[in-house]
Symmetry: C2
Subunit: 260 residues, 2 copies
Amino acid sequence: MKIWTIANQKGGVGKTTTTVSLAGLLAQRGHSALMVDLDPQGSLSSYFRLDPDRLDPSVYSLFQARANKSPLPDLEALVRPTAFPGLHLMPASTALATLDRQLGAQDGMGLVIAQALAGLRERFEYVFIDCPPVLGMLMVNALAACHQLIIPVQTEFLALKGLERMLHTLQMVGKAKGVMPPYTIMPTMFDKRTRASIECLRALREQHGAAAWNGVVPLDTRFREASQAGAPICFHQPGTRGGNAYEVLLETLLDQELEP
Amino acid sequence: MKIWTIANQKGGVGKTTTTVSLAGLLAQRGHSALMVDLDPQGSLSSYFRLDPDRLDPSVYSLFQARANKSPLPDLEALVRPTAFPGLHLMPASTALATLDRQLGAQDGMGLVIAQALAGLRERFEYVFIDCPPVLGMLMVNALAACHQLIIPVQTEFLALKGLERMLHTLQMVGKAKGVMPPYTIMPTMFDKRTRASIECLRALREQHGAAAWNGVVPLDTRFREASQAGAPICFHQPGTRGGNAYEVLLETLLDQELEP
Ligand SMILES: Nc1ncnc2c1ncn2[C@@H]1O[C@H](COP(=O)(O)OP(=O)(O)OP(=O)(O)O)[C@@H](O)[C@H]1O
Ligand SMILES: Nc1ncnc2c1ncn2[C@@H]1O[C@H](COP(=O)(O)OP(=O)(O)OP(=O)(O)O)[C@@H](O)[C@H]1O
Ligand SMILES: [Mg+2]
Ligand SMILES: [Mg+2]
């Protein structure tokens, strides 16, 4: 089982879109792929027409069981099928928003997701974890569970500043909690028509070198149409520029040797 | 003094862009406008080349003084000029991220911003408060301080879902804390070329009627160029489609009778 986490503290950079696009491609190729929604806003769950306000059981049940020291819920009940064969989802619930306040200080809450996924090792080849735009217990869980971290970064000025801070915070959290997976920076929403985008991409590559994927996801309005339709872009409109870019990224990710 | 808060729990919807664009227009017309950065990520401060990792004093000093029951810092020291006459900024610092955990439960922390702004009533005609994409003490402060709330919403499917939840949460917080200002929903990043965008705008207007501004901010890549240049769009490139839309919005906002 290979596990990727998609995270960035900056909002609206394409975390959910990246999770759906990559997992969708693997499912389309006949693999078993699981998406895990750790965002209390539940965008990933909403994308597949599940309502995070009314979801039970959800990822939240895992944390509740740990906090109450009761047995883990049945993992099978947490995994929901989607309309796309091979593609499954472990949905979020809005109750996740209370976790940091309620349980943040308790020990042993950082490995809840890692342990749940270990229980699904035979069932899924690939897992993608979508994160909220906030550094808290949910993101720490995602970092502890994954083999690699993907950081989507828009090719624009403010996003580069946010990236510096994110990497700085991750190093600190990594030392404190012992979780700092290797990461790949994924330039996205690239608009080749604007000088600002081109300059930002150049600066990103200069500053981060090999840590940045050598490709780029272009600005493509068909991602919105795919989310409106509740389908990964590869199922909704094969051959789009955005979808093709994620295919190239997926090849790069699969080539990198990850822990089995 | 008229005070607007720009908020939405969804990330990357144009909160900072809206703050800068509206305040910039008022400054360009010769008014005195103050922007307040309540986002621990400090995008608004970075936009104007201030570093939220190294800022002291900042908005954080206000909360610290209240928590320690010491006198408020000199408000003048908190207000920084920008390169644009009439446009000033009260910057954020990354230390704001610790507030909810440290002080969230303390009473009287919800009115820190409102009271600080009361002290600047003679100095500024207009104030715009930029919020982080999280519902916490900082957003509650912003809601308590403002006369009106502007909610930027992208014209895309997932954003509409997020809006329902946001309004639901606001009603609840409003009842608990007695702060629920009138609000205007601002459709943004509208792309007239895609069906998904057009359909979403129609659904937004059907669901929210008069609470939604009857205009729309189009998708315009020149906002990125403006942020790269560290200038409000009206100073950076007069006459853009995006900039013109904010002018129309500003007229609507100024026409609405707000508390003086
Ligand atoms: N390459 C792209 N080109 C154009 N639009 C994109 C691209 N990637 C994502 N989008 C759109 O940008 C918006 C934000 O994307 P998404 O919701 O995936 O971001 P996010 O980082 O998950 O946001 P949040 O921080 O709220 O979780 C969506 O409308 C999505 O369709
Ligand atoms: N109408 C628009 N058309 C195109 N791009 C836009 C528009 N409005 C904002 N943007 C761009 O979208 C990105 C996100 O905008 P912004 O940072 O203002 O959002 P935000 O809601 O403040 O994000 P956060 O939740 O991280 O604080 C920026 O790159 C900005 O330049
Ligand atoms: Mg998301
Ligand atoms: Mg912002």
